[in-house]
């Protein structure tokens, strides 16, 4: 247990010591998105009746930032320690694959939540943000961060170079977040893209999260919850299996 706690503390300190880059910077980025998109979209029809564009954007941006940062935390921690070789320090002690999994996922979730909270606090100054059901907000915030943290473990184990992590981010994470309805309701899309969106787990994350604020969503919140939970379970199983097999860690 002490071994696990130590690894968790180290993983949290690792981003907290550079919180300016790992927490403040992403909050600023999403503030910029918010200012620009709210300006561009001003005057156009809001996605939900009675919800302004700014109100609509803020939860989507918060979730997008959480997902990206949870992924960045596990993947960059693993690739950094693999490349510098100091992964050795955690491979020599008697830490189990479960210790690894939970320490990495919890630390990344903490970062995701910290960043999400930051976006939310900034959002409060920009618009009135209703809270329809705080429990759903928290459930999706946790699930979304944890799911991307698990995906980040898989990417971090698989990658041998920083560019591969960047490719993962640019060709998988970014398209999936941008096409998940962060900036629009998918009902505004042509039928083909609407159908396609339903295969994107990120869509359910954002839709369910938004439901917690407005009590309105594109699909049922229970469906979103099931998909999110299922995706989280699959990615976690993958991550734990790779950790247990020692994939690229203990050849």
């Amino acid at each position: 247990m002490i071994g696990f706690q130590t690894l968790l503390r180290k993983e949290i300190l690792r981003f907290w010591k550079v919180a300016f880059q790992t927490v403040a910077a992403p909050v600023l980025t999403s503030l910029l998105y918010l200012l620009i998109f709210a300006h561009v979209m001003a005057g156009s029809n809001a996605a939900f009746p009675g919800v302004t564009n700014e109100q609509f954007l803020i939860p989507g941006l918060a979730m997008m930032t959480m997902l990206q940062n949870a992924f960045a935390n596990t993947s960059s921690s693993l690739i950094q320690s693999k490349i510098t070789g100091n992964i050795l320090f955690i491979l020599l002690p008697p830490l189990s694959h479960w210790n690894f999994y939970f320490a990495y996922v919890i630390a990344a979730t903490v970062r995701g939540l910290a960043v999400g909270l930051g976006v939310f606090l900034v959002g409060i100054f920009m618009a009135h943000i209703p809270v329809y059901n705080a429990a759903w907000i928290l459930v999706f915030a946790f699930l979304g961060s944890a799911m991307l943290a698990a995906l980040g473990i898989i990417a971090g184990l698989w990658a041998d170079k920083f560019d591969q992590i960047a490719a993962f981010q640019n060709f998988i994470i970014m398209p999936l977040t941008f096409l998940s309805g962060v900036f629009y309701s998918i009902h505004s899309l042509p039928a083909f893209w609407q159908t396609l969106s339903h295969f994107n787990p990120f869509f359910y994350m954002i839709d369910g999260f938004r439901f917690g604020f407005f009590g309105k969503s594109d699909v049922s919140v229970w469906l979103s919850f099931s998909v999110a939970l299922g995706a989280f379970a699959c990615l976690s199983a993958g991550a734990v299996w790779l950790l247990k097999s020692g994939y690229k860690l203990r050849q």
Binding site: T84, L92, Q251
Partner: protein, 308 residues
Amino acid sequence: MTIAIDVHGVEKRYASFSALAGVSLRVEEGEFFALLGPNGAGKTTLISCLAGLTRANAGTLRVMGHDVVNDYQAARLALGIVPQEIVFDPFFSVRETLRFQAGYFGIARSAALDAWIDELLAKLSLTDKADKNMRQLSGGMKRRVLVAQALVHRPPVIVLDEPTAGVDVELRQTLWSFIRELNTKGHTILLTTHYLEEAQQLCSRIAMMKEGKIVALDTTEHLLNAFSERVLRVKLESELPVSLVPLRSKQSGAWHQFEIHDYNEVETLLARLRESGAVISNLEVTEPELEAVFVKIMRGEQTLGPAA
């Protein structure tokens, strides 16, 4: 006696290349053991298998009786490894690095742990660097931190993979006196080094590896006696008497060299030189050296012990 390190029939292949080709080795508790061999012999690979950093393709490895695969947690608790390559975490100071390492091994923060960390820092002359970030340390200092990290959980078995590469003379001596002290207290030490005189002075038993195999395994004393002769070197003012030429093993200028097996032979040789009227202007007897043994074994002139 417990077997501290028990390696049996270990093979490790990288693609078609065989880095370990059936290595078997036993180190008893309390031994100071050297694992020697040229670059690429497979020493680090064997240590990696022992530490669970690499999985062997065949064979078994045990540390203090614990299998490194099936009972990996107990095996790793019993093992302290000083890696060959210098690695460090640039996020932390020396003291933080050591506290984290202790934590990974399940040791909670306590006054006792802090005292042990202070002792380690003092023994390794790192006290004034304790609160410096790892990035601010020189290469040799980083290596000393690696030594401290390996010892922070007080492992009964300590493996040092070239711990003195890049470490200055003074620290090398303090390091060895510290490791010796640990050995006296009952810790088992396995050492690899390319400084053969270190191994000769410190280790009671030696294994030599070549191309993934053990080619010699014996006590230091036996290896020295069996492979390396004492040498008598004499400098003559005159030519070497013809009758003694067949006994000479080497000549360079006025120096003539004779291999001797015990000291009585020195007497005999000197008597014969005097009898034949040779005038000796200088003379020395050299002790056997591990380096000579190593060179002979690596050339494959002879093999000894349970070679694979």
